[in-house]
């Protein structure tokens, strides 16, 4: 089997086995539908109400993407002085660690109150905060750990700080940022869903988090599972898109070699 076929086939087989076993176990033990749905039922619900999940999924995806990008940009702005000054690094690090170790579910309601119930702002704040931390640590490491000989080479022609940043530090940080991006994709989706979940009752924006919350309140297990699966599919697609982008931008990097 060639490498290309293996790369396509292996994940398909993995997913088929996972859902197949799930289906088999639910059928074999006759598990009640309100306890655990069969994958076949979930897929059928999902395709039966495509427009509902598509429109809500798009809302969540947009929110997560906005938070992901904002988190990345804020992390780069904060990481740059941290990478250049140990003092700034030691000053910022405790704050970043506090953000990292505090579960988002604990402060999500407080953020919604802080943002006076605005779902859009609450979601943006939450997704930005959760994406920010992995990007921050990755950016500090990537911006700082450049080859000293290359740094000296650029200094030997009196390259300015911004030029060293643009030509050396930022490209060097890219592999680190992509690695953090894979973590931040999932976290930004969690942030978006929790923001929607804790949003006030008059949330008219929708989103899969809001849909899951309403399905849960109504004990609507098929909708609950279908929305969850839609969320998983969105997350998977986001990671896949990130992988494609990584393959293009990091084609020079050893991680992209067969």
């Amino acid at each position: 089997m060639n490498e290309r076929a293996r790369n396509v086939l292996a994940p398909v087989v993995g997913l088929a086995v996972f859902f197949g076993l799930w289906e088999l176990l639910v059928r074999a033990f006759s598990v009640e539908a309100f306890i655990l749905q069969k994958p076949s039922t979930i897929f059928s619900n999902l395709s039966g109400a495509r427009s509902l999940y598509w429109s809500n999924g798009l809302v969540t995806l947009r929110e997560a993407a906005l938070g992901f990008v904002t988190g990345l940009l804020v992390a780069l702005v904060v990481a740059t002085p941290m990478a250049l000054s140990r003092f700034v690094e030691h000053a910022v690090q405790p704050v970043a660690v506090l953000i990292q170790v505090t579960p988002i579910i604990a402060y999500a309601p407080a953020v919604v109150i802080w943002q006076r119930g605005s779902t859009a702002r609450s979601v943006l704040v939450l997704t930005t905060i959760v994406s920010f931390v992995p990007f921050l640590f990755a950016a500090v490491t990537g911006l700082r750990s450049v080859d000293p000989a290359t740094l000296e080479l650029l200094r030997s022609v009196d390259a300015s700080g911004p030029e060293i940043y643009r030509r050396l530090r930022l490209p060097h940080a890219l592999p680190y940022l992509f690695a953090a991006g894979r973590i931040a994709v999932g976290l930004s989706l969690i942030g978006a869903v929790l923001g929607e979940w804790f949003a006030l009752a008059d949330n008219r924006r929708g989103g899969l988090g809001a849909l899951i919350k309403s399905a849960s309140n109504q004990n609507n297990a098929p909708e609950l599972w279908a929305a969850t699966l839609a969320l998983a599919i969105i997350g998977g697609l986001a990671v896949w898109m990130l992988t494609i982008l990584e393959r293009v931008l990091l084609r020079w990097h050893s991680s992209q070699q067969p």
Binding site: A149, E152, R155, R167, L168, P171, W252, Q257
Partner: protein
């Protein structure tokens, strides 16, 4: 022309370089040889304006080392090739001409000229290759072209061939001589290898450690152009033996000054 007047350097309480004077004539190839830790690289950095000496003065073509660095008068070739892994061979070779562009006030190699130089050193088939696709010797050839493409009147080389095997190292030696003769640059070449120093140089400065100091400067009167056959000549072997003797004598600790 490079002139060091009473230059010395300390790292805290440690004297890295004792007071020394050195004159390098325009177009001269001077090698600096000595044991590890004797301050060869520090001396090179001081000449290149990358380290400010604790005492004394460095004059480069009538200006300070800092001014010379700010006008891109130095082409640095570090111990490792220091290529940017995300740039192709031709992009790496042209790098120094693009950084801090315009301050050199002299023509630097055009893209076509850089390609021609790369072809001359046998890399015509690798112009669009990435550094990871090259051998160590090929990478170091790119580093040499990068320095010569800058058109800098002074080249500072810090053990550039140290990591190469003996066969490639010998090839690189003659490649350097060819490029040097074409570009008529002044070269300060730091090395550990006595045959390399003798084969390349007009003069060899022998250094001793603790504190770092120049103990002798040996003039090499081998005819130019130099070729591999000369390595078997009596004249060459005498120079090698002389420098070996000087290095052995320099290994004995310096007399303590009252």
């Amino acid at each position: 022309m490079i002139e060091l007047r009473a230059v010395g350097h300390r790292f805290g309480a440690v004297t890295a370089l004792a007071e020394l004077d050195l004159h390098v004539a325009p177009g001269e190839l001077l090698s600096v040889i000595g044991p590890s830790g004797c301050g060869k690289s520090t001396l090179l950095r001081i000449i290149g304006g990358l380290t400010t000496p604790s005492q004394g003065q460095v004059v480069v073509n009538g200006a300070t080392a800092d001014t010379a660095r700010a006008t891109k008068q130095f082409g640095l070739v570090p111990q490792t090739p220091a290529l940017l892994p995300w740039k192709t061979v031709r992009q790496n070779a042209a790098l120094l001409t693009q950084v801090n562009r315009g301050v050199e006030r002299r023509p630097v190699a055009s893209d076509a000229a850089v390609d021609a130089m790369l072809a001359e050193v046998g890399l015509v088939e690798f112009l669009d290759a990435y550094p990871r696709q090259l051998s160590g010797g090929m990478q170091q050839r790119v580093a040499l072209v990068r320095a010569f493409a800058l058109g800098a009147p002074i080249l500072l080389m810090d053990e550039p061939f140290a990591a190469l095997d003996e066969i490639v190292r010998s090839e690189m030696r003659y490649l350097l001589l060819r490029l040097w003769q074409q570009h008529a640059a002044t070269v300060v070449f730091v090395t550990h290898s006595i045959p390399e120093a003798v084969m390349l140089s007009d003069r060899v400065a022998v250094m001793a450690a603790r504190p770092g100091r120049i103990v002798s400067i040996e003039t090499i009167d081998l005819a130019r152009p130099r070729h591999p056959d000369m390595e078997d000549s009596t004249q060459f072997l005498v120079h090698v033996a002389t420098i070996r003797r000087l290095l052995a004598a320099a290994a004995t600790p310096a007399p303590v000054r009252s």
